[in-house]
Symmetry: C2
Subunit: 217 residues, 2 copies
């Protein structure tokens, strides 16, 4: 197909497609003449992916480039799939650098909590610094997030992660793709489901019903 | 206390505090002289809250201002707590405006799914447009998010919302505060718990254990 058809099928303007081509985010088409090129399904798929990542995923182009590089890399070690994927996605929280003399790593509260939970984690994982910062922010804002409530949220997070992990393909390259895209694109879905579930439960409560889980069809 | 002590207790630089004072995000202190003012615990608390919202919460100052206005508003109707709070927080996904002639509102897939689930929702809720966009982005990226998987994620979201709703105070003004801050500041905590739970479950799987939920202490 020509670039105009690629544009109408993907909903991405021709000027934007040309920009992605110049930036190397989208591979060149097969040259038909000095000014025309032919594109195929793979181009359309890649363009839809870029649009999903910049749109609902909220990523900037530099981060999209990094995500695409990781997804396209055939040399991923089976064991490092998760680490590779988690490094490719943007940090959730930009945690402050430790002060000079202050050690990096989780606070004693977070270490004690995750140990009591029995979670197998790398103590140097930057995600722990981010969780420390996010937990402290809840304290600073005066919303009570004690260990018990953290455990209740972690129970729900484990259910989500079970679905995530169960749907990861066995071979490394598609697995990295699934984990990276599942992280970037499912975070907004989950945040929205949380808000809608709050509305549903509040409406149930206001109507004098239990506010418990809705019956499954 | 003087502004220097406010700065050292909050960790916010004096220049930044002065900027918040000029912008009206932080109320003025009690004037001691033409150049000096006295601040109290309420200033310190507000400053910690602003830092939490701009830091882990990831909000810009315009959005912080809106959140503070909503939190400070004493005239909140008991029934509209959730709607008020959800309007104050930034959208999760910036959904595209509908094309001319295209109707606003959830797609038929999303409407059928939420109806089958029995969720009590306002059909004109902009959150539904956002969820539509986020779901389409998953399709565009080729990560399989069918109705069954959406239901499994929604089950987990309901557990989270149950904790959220159960910890909301009964009177409207603190309730709005709790819901707004709990949304802005708990989204990153939940996203991080999801990633850490993925790591824990992957490590358990690699070690040949079940990968099921960890035993509770």
């Amino acid at each position: 197909m020509r670039i105009s058809e690629l544009s109408s099928l993907s909903g991405v303007p021709v000027a934007t497609i040309k920009y992605y081509l110049r930036e190397g985010l989208l591979p060149s088409g097969r040259a038909l003449s000095r000014t025309q090129a032919e594109y195929d399904e793979a181009h359309l798929e890649r363009l839809r992916l870029i649009r999903a990542l910049t749109g609902a995923g909220g990523l900037g182009l530099a981060r999209v480039r990094r995500v695409l590089e990781v997804i396209d890399d055939p040399a991923v070690d089976r064991l490092s799939v998760l680490a590779t994927a988690q490094r490719a996605v943007p940090p959730v929280v930009v945690a402050a650098e430790p002060e000079p003399g202050e050690s990096r790593g989780a606070s004693s509260r977070l270490r004690a909590w995750s140990a009591a939970r029995g979670w197998s984690l790398d103590p140097d994982d930057p995600l722990l610094d981010q969780l420390d910062a996010a937990w402290s922010a809840c304290d600073d804002a005066g919303i009570g997030l004690d260990e018990g409530r953290m455990d209740a949220y972690a129970d729900a997070a484990e259910r989500i992660a079970q679905i995530d992990v169960a749907t990861v393909p066995a071979s490394p390259t598609p697995a990295v793709r699934q984990v990276v895209l599942g992280t970037v694109l499912m975070d907004p879905v989950l945040a929205l489901l949380r808000r809608l579930a709050q509305q549903h439960l509040s409406a149930e409560r206001a109507a004098g019903r239990s506010g418990g889980p809705s019956p499954r069809p």
